[in-house]
Amino acid sequence: MDYASLDDREVVALACKGREAAFRELLSRYERPVFSLVVRMVRDATLAEDLAQEAFIKAFHALGSYDPRFRFSSWLFKIANNLTIDHLRKKQLDTVSMHGAPGAQGEEEEARSRIVLADGRETPEEYTANRELGGRIEAAISRLRPEYRTAILLRHVEGHSYEEVAEIMEVPLGTVKTYIHRGRHELKDLLAGVAA
């Protein structure tokens, strides 16, 4: 059976009947989006993998309670987001990865997201010349509040609509718009301040 051609709801229905291939199909569809969201929230590749695994395990064990009237991706992201937010609240992380975005695959992706900081031996001109576009964005995103970060990532990286982001984050639509607008404003200021 070609699971790739089936809708999410159909794959979930097959998974509820005990088809392991259906579970793997769901994993192949959503492991990157879920991991992308979590890793940019916690900024630690190992921790992000653990949290993403927990999210999938929790979602799969609760597949019986999934309501097909709603999008599977929204339901899955809601679980992953809640898990990540709970972890951040407990740990109150405030670390920044210096060696490229966590989870960056390959030298190009890592170089693109590497955060280059002046170490005192570089002149300001060398620091500015060594910094690259991708790294600025990743560093700026890491400095946003968790809720702003989640809303921005769900909107721009995953391409969810405002309504879907509100459903995933379980906040009103107006709150989502506020989060996104304020998050973008902070990003714009951070990027402008770095470029100044």
């Binding site: 998974a15 509820c16 009947k17 005990g18 088809r19 392991e20 579970f23 793997r24 994993l27 192949s28 492991e31 990157r32 989006p33 991991f35 992308s36 890793v39 940019r40 590749a45 992000a48 993998e49 993403a52 695994q53 999938f56 395990i57 799969f60 064990h61 597949l63 019986g64 309670s65 309501d67 975005a101 966590p102 989870g103 960056a104 695959q105 190009e108 992706e109 693109r112 590497r114 280059v116 031996r121 570089e122 060398e126 010349a129 060594n130 910094r131 690259e132 576009l133 991708g134 964005i137 921005i152 990532l153 721009h156 990286v157 607008h181 973008r184 404003h185 990003l187 714009k188 990027l191």
Partner: protein, 365 residues
């Protein structure tokens, strides 16, 4: 001193500079330089993403239609210019009578000063307003950052979008703001999805009990739909009552503590009563609790003994006691066998690790 890290972006890093990529996206790079950039883009996903971001931005900017000013634009501009160059009205001094030559100079100074104050105010009231009428209609204000973002994302209603376009046609500040925000949004849209390490899916599947999930799903599917809907509604309603903020938890805790506080206050009021002592209160409460427990026990016992089932059980028990020794032995052996089997089942399912999906029936095999 460690060797300096080679720049990751620039002529010596192997990647074209940001300015060159921008110019390439704008179609301003030609000839050998363009071929060099194209060759690099063929093998560099990062630079391709940057060029794509610039292309999107230029595409959005290029799609903005050119619109001319509405109404008598020239006439309004000229009216503003004429208003700014209008001659000030002649100062009209206040008539202040003077009675003596010694006071004339003072009176003149007072008159002039008062006249300055008075006619200065009149001139301010008469001065034409400096705020220019924005093209596109009276009352149009500059765009807010949120409005600009909604405009770029196409979230505005059609009529509002038309007004915004009309405003942008004549407002370079807002146009620059739109350009700046477009760059930010394009950069965000160009963020890549990051992948976990290989083996992620296997690690997840190793911890998922597929058959257990299927069993739970089947059980939930058999439940009546109305029960599931009711259950979900109850849960949803209950979840709304759970506080989210710290203030909410403080308020909820205060409400929950109020009955206890009230009871303690009542006890304190009783205890501090000169007629009733604390010992009397304890004795009274003890009587009440004892009465309640006794009534509960009597009612429960009557529930089980004053029924037909209880009578039948008593009769069966008497018959059993009067049965033959052989029957009693067989019954004893059956009971012991059942207890032993139950112990095995409990041991296999609770204490011994078992394979995923194994049920108690299979454990006996």
């Amino acid at each position: 001193m460690p060797a300096p890290r080679p720049p990751s972006h620039g002529p010596t890093s192997g990647h074209p500079s940001g300015e060159r990529l921008e110019a390439f996206a704008a179609g301003e790079v030609h000839g050998a330089m363009a071929r060099e950039v194209e060759g690099h883009l063929a093998g560099c996903a990062r630079c391709r993403a940057e060029v794509e971001g610039w292309t999107l931005l230029f595409g959005d900017l290029a799609s903005l239609p050119e619109r001319g000013p509405s109404g008598d634009f020239v006439g309004r501009v000229m009216a503003e210019i004429e208003g700014l160059t209008q001659p000030e009205p002649a100062r009209r001094p206040l008539p202040v009578p003077t009675h003596a030559s010694g006071l004339k100079g003072l009176a003149d100074r007072v008159r002039d000063g008062a006249g300055d104050l008075l006619w200065g105010g009149v001139r301010a009231l008469r001065r034409p307003r400096a705020a220019p009428a924005a093209p596109g209609g009276a009352g149009t204000r500059h765009l807010t950052p949120a409005g600009i973002q909604d405009f770029i994302e196409g979230q505005l209603a059609a009529r509002t979008e038309v007004r915004v376009l009309d405003h942008l046609a004549g407002c370079p500040d807002c146009s620059n703001q739109v350009e700046g925000w477009s760059v930010v949004l394009a950069r965000l849209d160009a963020l890549p999805r990051l992948a976990p390490r290989p083996g992620f899916a296997d690690a997840v599947m190793a911890r998922v009990e597929v058959q257990a999930v299927a069993a739970v799903a089947a059980r939930q599917a058999r439940a009546p739909a109305w029960a599931a809907a009711l259950g979900s509604r109850v849960l949803a309603g209950a979840s709304r009552l759970v506080p989210v903020t710290r203030r909410g938890w403080v308020a909820a805790g205060t409400l929950m503590a109020m009955p206890t506080v009230g009871l303690l206050a009542l006890v304190a009021a009783v205890v501090t009563n000169p007629v009733v002592g604390f010992g009397d209160l304890v004795t009274f409460l003890g009587w009440r609790v004892t009465d309640a427990l006794g009534g509960l026990a009597a009612g429960t016992l009557a529930l089980f003994t004053e029924t037909r089932l209880a009578a039948a059980l008593w009769q069966a028990l008497f018959a059993f006691v009067q049965a033959s020794p052989l029957a009693l032995s067989l019954f004893f052996l059956l009971t012991m066998g059942t207890v032993a089997a139950a112990a095995v089942v409990v041991y296999r399912n609770l204490y011994r690790p078992h394979e995923a999906g194994e049920t108690h029936v299979q454990a006996l095999s």
